[in-house]
Amino acid sequence: MNAFRYAQAHDVASAMATVAADPGARYVAGGTNVIDLMKEYVEQPSLLVDITHLPLRAIDASARGVRVGALAAMSDVADHAAVARDFPAVAQALLLSASPQLRNMATIGGNVMQRTRCAYFRDVSQACNKRAPGSGCAAIAGVNRQHAVVGGSEHCICTHPSDLAVALLAVDAVVHVRGRAGERTIPFERFHVLPGATPQRETVLEHGDLITAVELPPSAHARSSYYLKVRDRASYEFALVSVAAALDVTGGTVRAARVALGGVAPKPWRSHDAEAALTGRPATAATFAAAAQAATRGMRGYGQNDFKIALTQRAVARALAHAGGAA
């Protein structure tokens, strides 16, 4: 790790002022991503601003849903009764993430900001447009079993590793951010950006912006949500493909649907195609099969990850069956 200065913040304004003033400054909370990336020299901040003492840890449940403070630990959110009851995909996604130790350390805010696990991104001797713009993408013609089948570009085909982010997408989460101009909210679907020609940009945040909370608004489909994670090992591994499915089924008909995918794209992927094939249709296996097929629209493989397309289809069908109450 490079040598760096350390500052400890006790109020949001000073934390933000400090980071905003210094392009080499980064926030550190749980540290499970930033410290890891610093050991690999992928990130080399000259100043770490410790925000773990900020009053952003509370998890508040009310009629307006659950407001999760950005510093709430993944394990605490997963164990929270209201989350498990009203947003089951979120609790499931959290419990399927990482390890108990990492879940105690990692925060919700840090989790949605976490960076790709692409082996080329993480190896400073390899070409990576995200880490070193203009150097190329070694994954496209290299080892790409874990990489994206949709949403990538000729510059980058990484996948976003967060399970939680996929579930947040399916329950219409809203991110609360404080920035230079004050507070603002960002619908989760617009929080992450695709690589395009600038893979070094991953979110809509500006340097110095601070996530203060993630809001989970109540809905019938969120209450009937399900997270499915497919991976080689039974635990402690990132997804090959994952699905967060949320279905509001009333009288046998799908009134509202959300289908979000993980492991397939550079950001958590909302499949509007699958949702269009579900909304207003009967909640049957045939409908789910059609939606699963639609979920793969636009997908392409890069040689070693072609299997993800068929796996997406099967995983979506399986997840819909669970969310629809049929499994």
Partner: protein
């Protein structure tokens, strides 16, 4: 022997391990310690063009930057140095990805690793040889002391005329040992005397190699390895970082500690090479084999040789009138491969046992029955087995897993929407023994001090040796202090190849008997009269004569049993597996192991070894292959 040997005695080093008091190599406190960090190449073939170390030398705490330009000269290869040939900054050539190209020494771990990361190294890179298909294979002069090829009868003719045959190529990927403890070495010089705290499976071998590398008498080198966090073969040889630590210590005139990072563990510490194995089996319609062909190609490095002996298992496991086993190697720009848990047996049994399953299906014979039908009491050289319990193991394991419930038709068994499958495989491993010595001291206070240079790599050697000594002297096992892992102690072979227990254990038993003999002499008694008295009676003799302690010593070596017998353990393993046919996930439901492994000295630790081996085999099946076009291994 009494009930002690064979009993499930708790590990005598257990308390140290569960309290964190056991000290592994990186944890030895050494005054004035400096930290070394390796810089590894990022190309697999070429030469170092330039090292820009000016800025790094000025970084806080940096004591030295060791490169080919200023590294001490050592013997990196040759008959004295032996295997492995060391790439240790003696020239500017790069032969494999992650080859050491520099070492930075600093006063703290953080400063050393940061400085190493900042070192700019430029290469003149050349295209690396990374693909087995693209390179030409050669026949090695020897494969671990044997000829590369074994021929009995005409196996190809047997194939051509077989009633039933199968013929396929099986591949196993590169595998890395990755013990939980990264390789670690602390090296310190006092004049021309070198002490090394090293995570090694064999202190005697490590000492001999370091003496040859540095051109000093063996007596000048001491290697200590009292606790090591797993080896599995990777710590059975002395790799570049050990020598580099000693070179850096020489250069800086300070003790230097080098601990490999986890990514560095995919570099110069050996690996199981990729194998491509053609296995063809010829059989009569009664299922009896008429021929086995087992042809293995594996890679080695461009500067050293290690051949994975996958075909040897076909000379042991089944009876056949004709046999063709060959081994070929391909030179690639990789680090040199090495022994990895069951070298040859694990990669070879995958191929052979898969082929046996295919043959069972082709014949319409139950896979367990097929193996029973091809049992034999002699190996391919015609030597009788000293013992062989393969059939018993197959029957016992089949019973335990419920093999009779198995429907042999593919996809015929289900558990909900999951497909259920059963599998069986035979297992074997040779028995080895080397010369070893030991010392056992009985004291007037009733305690016993026993010593051997052998290393307990997690197998339970501390415990089993304590049991042997305690049993031979008739004392409770708690009264034995067993000291291991110091080259100053009586010699012992590596903990590897199923060798150590028989070797050092025999020497310890003889040394304990020597104590009895010496006490008899001291007491002017007939040795026979002392043969079975317990330890208290022996101690009483010491006290009677006012003697503080009696020292027993022994040298032991194998006899000529291997000239007359083929000596191996045998076993069978059964698996029940569940597959999700839609998602493709594979989960192991149950696994049964049955083994006949000679005299079990400790039921508890032996069982743990078998469990560990099974977990390794299961993990081997589940690990994904990492292809590499650049020569850089994925990590």
């Amino acid at each position: 022997m009494t009930a002690l040997v064979g009993a499930p005695v708790d590990r005598v080093d257990g308390r140290l391990k569960v309290t964190g008091a056991a000290k592994y190599s990186a944890e030895i406190a050494v005054p004035n310690l400096a930290y070394g960090a390796l810089v590894l190449s990022t190309v697999a073939n070429g030469r170092i063009a330039q090292v820009d170390d000016a800025a790094v030398r000025r970084m806080p705490g940096v004591l030295a930057v060791m490169t080919p330009a200023n590294a001490p000269r050592v013997n990196a290869s040759g008959p004295q140095v032996g295997y492995p040939v060391l790439r240790v900054l003696q020239d500017d050539l790069v032969h494999y990805d992650r080859q050491p190209v520099a070492v930075v020494v600093a006063d703290t771990f953080e400063r050393a690793t940061d400085a190493a990361a900042m070192l700019r190294v430029r290469y003149d890179a050349a295209p690396p040889a990374t693909r087995m298909n693209g390179s030409s294979a050669y026949k090695p002069a020897q494969v671990h002391g044997k000829d590369a090829d074994t021929r009995k009868g005409d196996a190809e003719a047997a194939l051509a005329s077989a009633a039933v045959k199968v013929d396929n190529t099986y591949t196993t990927p590169v595998e890395h040992h990755n013990p939980m403890e990264p390789h670690a070495t602390i090296a310190l010089w006092e004049g021309d005397r070198l002490t090394v705290y090293d995570a090694t499976q064999g202190v005697i071998g490590a000492r001999r190699k370091l003496a040859a590398v540095f051109g000093v008498p063996t007596e000048n080198v001491r290697v200590v390895s009292r606790f090591i966090g797993g080896g599995f073969g990777s710590k059975g040889s002395s790799w570049p970082h050990v020598t580099l630590a000693a070179m850096a210590a020489k250069l800086t005139n300070r003790p230097v500690k080098i601990v490999l990072s986890r990514p560095q563990m995919f570099g110069s510490v050996g690996h199981r090479p990729r194998t491509e194995q053609r296995v063809a089996l010829a059989a009569g319609s009664d299922g009896k084999l008429t021929g086995i062909v087992h042809q293995t190609t594996a890679h080695t490095s461009v500067f050293d040789e290690f051949v994975e002996p996958s075909g040897l298992i076909s000379t042991v496991l089944y009876g056949t009138p004709s046999l063709l086993v060959t081994h070929r190697a391909v030179r690639l720009n990789t680090a040199t491969p090495t022994y990895m848990r069951a070298p040859g047996e694990s990669s070879g049994s995958f191929a052979l046992e898969s082929a046996m399953d295919e043959l069972a299906y082709a014949l319409g014979v139950d896979p367990v029955e097929l193996r029973v039908r091809n049992d034999t009491d002699r190996d391919a050289d015609g030597l009788p087995f000293s013992s062989r319990s393969l059939v018993q193991a197959l029957r016992a394991g089949a019973e335990r897993i419920g093999w009779s419930r198995r429907d042999p038709r593919a996809r015929s068994m289900r558990d909900g929407n999951l497909l259920v499958g059963f599998g069986v495989a035979a297992a074997t491993y040779p028995m080895n023994r080397s010369a070893a010595s030991a010392s056992v001291q009985l004291r007037a206070d009733g305690s016993v001090l026993a010593r051997s240079a052998g290393v307990d790599i997690g197998t339970g050697a501390y415990t089993v040796f304590s049991q042997i000594v305690a049993d031979t002297l008739g004392v409770p096992v708690q009264r034995v202090r067993m000291e291991l892992g110091d080259s100053a102690f009586p010699i012992a072979p590596n903990a590897g190849g199923s060798t150590l227990t028989a070797s050092a254990g025999s020497a310890l038993k003889l040394a304990a008997l020597d104590v009895r003999a010496k006490l008899a002499a001291l007491d002017g008694a007939d040795p026979a009269s002392l043969a079975s008295v317990n330890g208290d009676a022996l101690v009483a003799i010491l006290r009677k004569h006012g003697t503080d302690a009696i020292d027993g010593r022994a040298d032991a070596k194998p006899g000529d049993e291997k000239k007359n017998f083929s000596m191996h353990s045998f076993g069978a393993q059964f698996a029940e597996v569940r597959v999700d046919p839609e998602l493709g996930t594979v989960r192991l439901a149950r696994f049964v192991n049955a083994f006949g492994a000679g005299r079990i000295l400790n039921e508890k630790t032996a069982k743990s070894q078998y469990i560990g081996g099974a977990v390794w085999g299961i993990g081997m099946r589940c690990s994904s292959t990492r292809a590499s076009t650049s020569g850089r291994a994925g990590s």
